[in-house]
Symmetry: C2
Subunit: 272 residues, 2 copies
């Protein structure tokens, strides 16, 4: 788990890349996005003035394992995911990595770098990604011109903050199984919002990475998944997941002791 420090020499398109898997867009992948495109991607309700804004933002192709930005690198860009899957991580002094999030389509990356003018974390692609590069200064200037845009950006940050809060809550008050269950529900919801199946999908990350995100070890994550499978809540085979009982996963507080940890017989199943 050492950071082998692949330099982030990310390929900015200058040739037509092989067509990606976007069903709505049968053409070759785009090289540039307008402000309107970016707003759509971010889920921002934009006004008429944004509609005709001529600014164009460049795209960037990032291959699996490559970094969009690295810790300590000077901050100047924000990044919006157009397709693909990533992880954001911080590497602590001991060299081990802590996962902060798993950004995907429509997510904004890099804003945590603003305060100290350096990125305090890094974004690593878990698959080939298509990323829109938005120079922060340019965005700030646009925010000045389009009042709705400014508020929309605040709103995205507010949303991020809420998500972090819910993560804190999850990690500090839920059992290991409940954390894994909610993680699956969360992924399911996001896939659904993106237009993919919410019940069948592939995990893009390792058990180790899930564990880091949830404050658990990889073994605990694995056992939780096996437990859910035994209970009939999911089908799981390596990275392939099928959710069979979303409601049960949403409301699960802890695993009935018969599953996963074959040690004792009957005990209370009460909430913590």
């Amino acid at each position: 788990m050492f950071s082998t420090s692949i330099p982030a020499k990310n390929v900015v398109y200058n040739i037509t890349p092989p067509a990606s898997a976007r069903s709505a867009d049968p053409h070759a992948r785009k090289l540039w996005s307008s402000l309107k495109d970016v707003c759509k991607l971010l889920g921002i309700a934009f006004g008429a003035s944004v509609e005709h804004e001529p600014v164009q933002f460049q795209h960037m192709a990032v291959q699996t394992g490559q970094r969009v930005y690295t810790m300590g690198q000077p901050f100047d860009m924000l990044y919006v995911v157009r397709s693909g899957f990533l992880k954001t991580v911080v590497i602590d002094d001991g060299g081990s990595e802590q996962i902060l999030n798993f950004p995907m389509k429509g997510n904004l990356l890099g804003i945590d770098g603003l305060h100290n003018k350096r990125y305090p974390s890094e974004a690593v692609a878990l698959s080939t990604c298509d990323i829109v590069c938005v120079p922060f200064k340019q965005l700030a200037a646009l925010g000045q011109q389009h009042p709705g845009l400014e508020t929309a950006i605040y709103s995205i940050l507010s949303q991020e903050l809420m998500h972090e809060h819910s993560m804190l809550n999850t990690i500090s008050s839920l059992s290991a199984e409940a954390r894994v269950a909610r993680f699956l529900v969360w992924l399911s919801n996001r896939y659904m919002k993106m237009g993919y199946s919410g019940t069948q999908f592939n995990l893009r990350m390792t058990r180790q990475e899930i564990g880091s995100y949830l404050g658990l070890t990889l073994e605990t994550v694995s056992r939780a998944l096996s437990g859910f499978k035994q209970m009939g809540l999911i089908e799981v085979n390596q990275r392939a997941i099928e959710i069979k009982d979303l409601y049960a996963l949403q409301t699960l507080r802890r695993l009935p002791p018969a599953y996963g940890n074959p040690r004792r017989a009957v005990t209370k199943t009460l909430a913590r």
Copy 2:
């Protein structure tokens, strides 16, 4: 620990309140703050245009136990702490509260309400507080006029995000003792920045609340503090804390087994 639901009928000053403990300000407490004052409080480097902005923001006095805003309440205001200590919490469906932060002088409250136009959390005073009320719409409008201000607000949000990240890291990868140790260091730093002693201070919150913040039980927090005391790292008597070895607290990974948990003799003291 039930929320006895004191309605948030917070007293907006209309008489001169008893002078507070602000040493730099020997006069009676202020009733209004200018934009410049608010920027100073937030640690924002403001430009010349802000200097002469005539807008005034009203203050609010909040007594111990009262709420500045409550969960579900429509969002329209941000709040900046001028003096006093608070906790921000979310109440989960089971009725138990999860502490999100312990805001104090200079902190911004309520921004997490922007996204859904309702506060998803609540802010409760742990002491008498003097709070500046900043209508969000007004602030957004000012952001349009003063370019530096807009960026400064983004920067504050970025900082919040970083803090949440470090909390996630703390909770999900540190031992109970290390979490408590870092909590003390964090408090010490904040007190110092506010001009108070960084080595001697009173905790404004219960062990229960510290535990909730750190994802621990109150007993575990109590034991950690007792352990530090035994090791000579701190002096602790109820809420009164004296830090004697800040460096040790900063770098502590886990408690040598002899302290606090008198069970076995000698084991490895290595980092996790």
